[in-house]
């Protein structure tokens, strides 16, 4: 049933966010630490397990894939609710800091990708 897929997603999200929140409290920060990442890992582990009593049927898969496909539209809606006016009207200090941080990040991607193991360009 489609709802099984949606419920499985919901279960993963609630569990992951819960542990992300606990982790944040444990290390003493006022933020959720990797809750979504933990949820994703949990989903990957659950759908990949080889338990005969637990297999993902096609309708169940549809319930997951629907939300997967809704990802881009949701992100477009998210863009439409950003505080763009404040970002643009905040003066040069904030704009420079934002631009500099993004530029530094992009410059570092190829550098880190090159020094890291497991990446073979001659695949």
């Amino acid at each position: 049933m489609v709802i099984y897929g949606v419920a499985l997603l919901a279960f993963c999200m609630l569990t992951g966010i819960f542990f992300g929140d606990l982790l944040g409290q444990l290390i003493g920060v006022q933020a959720n630490v990797g809750g979504v990442g933990l949820s994703m890992l949990l989903l990957i582990v659950l759908v990949n397990q080889k338990n005969p009593g637990f297999n993902i049927s096609e309708p169940t898969e549809k319930g997951i894939n629907f939300w997967n496909a809704m990802y881009v539209p949701i992100v477009v809606a998210m863009a439409a609710k950003q505080n763009v006016v404040e970002a643009l009207s905040s003066g040069w200090l904030a704009i420079s800091a934002g631009i500099a941080a993004v530029a530094a990040g992009f410059l570092l991607i190829p550098l880190i990708a090159r020094i890291s193991p497991g990446q073979h360009h001659d695949r």
């Binding site: 966010i17 990802y71 950003q82 505080n83 763009v84 904030a94 990040g105 991607i109 990708a113």
Partner: protein
């Protein structure tokens, strides 16, 4: 009478209005992508920029902080584009992720989160310094804002920063997140952002979940789960490092 009924129906079903509105926006963006750029510029990239432009319009019209969602008719965008649905959809993208790809890049992903926080903080701190700030609390708060717009206020509050400085740190984070959305599809080819490995590094370096989510959606949706995976640890690590270790380093540099 017809007009009033129409408006009443729309305002009573704002989430459904958001679904149809975003549907139309995405359709129009893919139309533009195919006709004007012959598919060169991804339809979703155009849709995201369109969303940002509409958010600007909404902000100008209402003076609010939620872009187009502050206009009552479009209030449903706040739900549809809110953190709850966003995270739910991000998690769904993990379905179909190749586990060995994750394992292979797991370590470098973790390292890039730490590098990303430290580099963003340092760059933001340098900019604050060059704009004349000399006290360690303000410099650290603005540096933290250059990490994400959540790390900034968390750090500023912890250190007791002035509210105008906290506002600046939020703004720096907002600029970063908007810029990541717009710039990622444009520079992805040049920085080698075309495989799960570099997507995990990218998520760790940028860290803004909304920026990374939109940036990868506009570049290659298959990479979304890898980038999102590392990005979701970034704000937590930033909130851990910025008000503690990084602040102490800044204080040592400025107060001796």
């Amino acid at each position: 009478m017809i007009g009033e009924t129409f408006i009443r129906v729309l305002e009573g079903n704002t989430l459904i209005v958001a679904f149809s509105f975003i549907g139309a926006l995405v359709w129009f963006s893919y139309f533009l992508s195919a006709k004007l750029t012959r598919g060169k510029l991804h339809g979703s990239a155009i849709a995201i920029v369109g969303g940002l432009l509409l958010a600007y319009y909404g902000g100008i019209r209402t003076d609010g902080a939620m872009g187009l969602a502050d206009i009552p008719l479009f209030a449903g965008l706040g739900v549809m584009g809110g953190a709850m649905f966003r995270d739910f959809a991000i998690i769904a993208t993990a379905y179909g992720v190749r586990f060995d790809e994750l394992k292979k890049a797991g370590l470098i992903g973790a390292i890039s989160v730490i590098i990303g926080v430290v580099v963003s903080f340092s760059v933001g701190a340098l900019v604050a310094y060059s704009f004349g700030y000399r006290d360690a609390v303000a410099i650290s708060t603005i540096g933290a804002g250059a990490a994400t717009y959540i790390v900034g206020p968390v750090t500023g509050t912890a250190l007791g920063a002035d509210s105008s400085v906290i506002a600046l740190s939020v703004a720096a984070g907002l600029v970063k997140s908007v810029l990541v959305m717009v710039a990622t599809p444009l520079v992805a080819g040049r920085v080698g952002l075309d495989n799960p490995h570099s997507a995990m590094i990218y998520g760790g370096l940028m860290g803004t979940t909304s920026g990374v989510a939109a940036g990868l959606a506009a570049t290659d949706p298959k990479l979304v789960p890898y980038g999102a995976m590392t990005a979701t640890f970034y704000t937590g690590v930033g909130c851990l490092l910025a008000p503690s270790l990084l602040f102490l380093i800044v204080r040592m540099a400025f107060e001796n």
